[in-house]
Symmetry: C2
Subunit: 298 residues, 2 copies
Amino acid sequence: MQQAGETLSQDPLCSDFDRATAVTPRGDDESVFDAVLPDGWRVGAGINGGLLSALVARALSKELGSGSGHRDPFALTAYFLSACHPGPVTVRTGSVRSGRHLSTGAARLMQSGKDGTEVERLRVLASYGDLGALTDEVLTTAAPPRMPDPDDCLPADHAPPAFLERAPFIRQMDLRLDPSTVGWAFGQPSGVGALRGWLRMPDGRQPDPLLLIFAADCLPPTAFELGIFGWMPTVELTVHVRARPSGGWLRVSHTTRNFAGGFFEEDAEVWDESGRLVAQSRQLARAPERRHAFPAHV
Amino acid sequence: MQQAGETLSQDPLCSDFDRATAVTPRGDDESVFDAVLPDGWRVGAGINGGLLSALVARALSKELGSGSGHRDPFALTAYFLSACHPGPVTVRTGSVRSGRHLSTGAARLMQSGKDGTEVERLRVLASYGDLGALTDEVLTTAAPPRMPDPDDCLPADHAPPAFLERAPFIRQMDLRLDPSTVGWAFGQPSGVGALRGWLRMPDGRQPDPLLLIFAADCLPPTAFELGIFGWMPTVELTVHVRARPSGGWLRVSHTTRNFAGGFFEEDAEVWDESGRLVAQSRQLARAPERRHAFPAHV
């Protein structure tokens, strides 16, 4: 792996992210894709949901983009059905409708269960278009969050060893957390449902729409800052990609307004280095049934 | 039709909303439902997207709830494929996964096209559970927006006749808009992407999860307050229902943070009379290709 900022990957398959989301169409049915999920993108027993969503997004881009030129995800929704483990998976895609502006497709991410039968992990709906064809008009856009410079933020891979062992995917990112949102890591959660940080890939892989989908689900849960630790499965995640990002750092902000009744939403916003709000997402997640004390059993 | 607040409908089919979202399972296949969309819920040439989503939600509640007891929509996502006209429609539902907490299903809303073939209007994914089984814990929740009392707000059905003719569904609601967000109606849009108001049904029909889904897409587009008028089709709408609402007025708030590149997101929040944030939604919509001057051609 290269050091942060050393060089930019020109060949997509030089990057860890692209290798982890690579999909191969089957010779006999090009709407079906095979892939292998590396262990290094695991959080607990399952692969990170942002990576799974990006992998399905790549397959749908091939399925929908070939005829229409609609290769960029504009909106992608994933319903998470069961935890997806490292190893082989299959993505079954289909076109739902092809329009002038957008093409819509559906996909299922499947994995062999313990008894060898196919189990569905993720069901996806998504609309694709051409981000390059968008107008330059920006009528209103949210301002990026103020944060200390990356060098004055807290590298996520400085987390305690027990945390990194449980969530090795943290090491796949160069993620610097705003110190004002990491009280949870020191036993002093702020009580405010907000986390934010700077993100880039350690091997120099530059942002694109697929990386934005990953970025929307790559931070620790905002629930940590509410003093809640444990397994918090995503029910549903929708990402809107709003512009092609510039190169360099991404600013990622997660907020929760409504932690109630055993569920909470997480809104993510992703800004590029030019200050453009390039992606927005929301997910519904379930609060842990069994809550743990940090950090031993996060 | 009863007058506002006169009595509460006890029989669901006494209410206009319930009649407009009624679905009948087919005798030979109970996963397929027939329905008829009344002209009165039209906006332009198509039926309001919130009503369509509520109708599909009702069909999925029957499909998923019968065995599992998971009758309440927790998360519902609709991808809008083509405008749905008044008249007969068919909802084809299917179960995707049945879990302990949630059951997930998929649905397609179909309508006969001009040549008699079935055309898909809406593709839906949704997870259902039992809102009655949720804990009472509220760790953090957004505060309801401050608004003048309903009697000091602007009834939406006082809109200009040209507007009501184009959007007759406005008359289905007792919707009172916060005067500070209706500058657009007087040729003075605020430039802020926000609209809010009080909502109840004129026939006394009380809020429930299906009405919350409708409420998430019942206000005029926030783009009006940015001075943008014209046809703004929804690409994708996701609603999270977070609690069973109390009776009485709902407060509905729509905001847009990112109107850019010909698309904009709309976040809706719905509070019940007790001050609980009972639903949250986000949609991605397309800005009008041809922009009109208000009010003649909205």
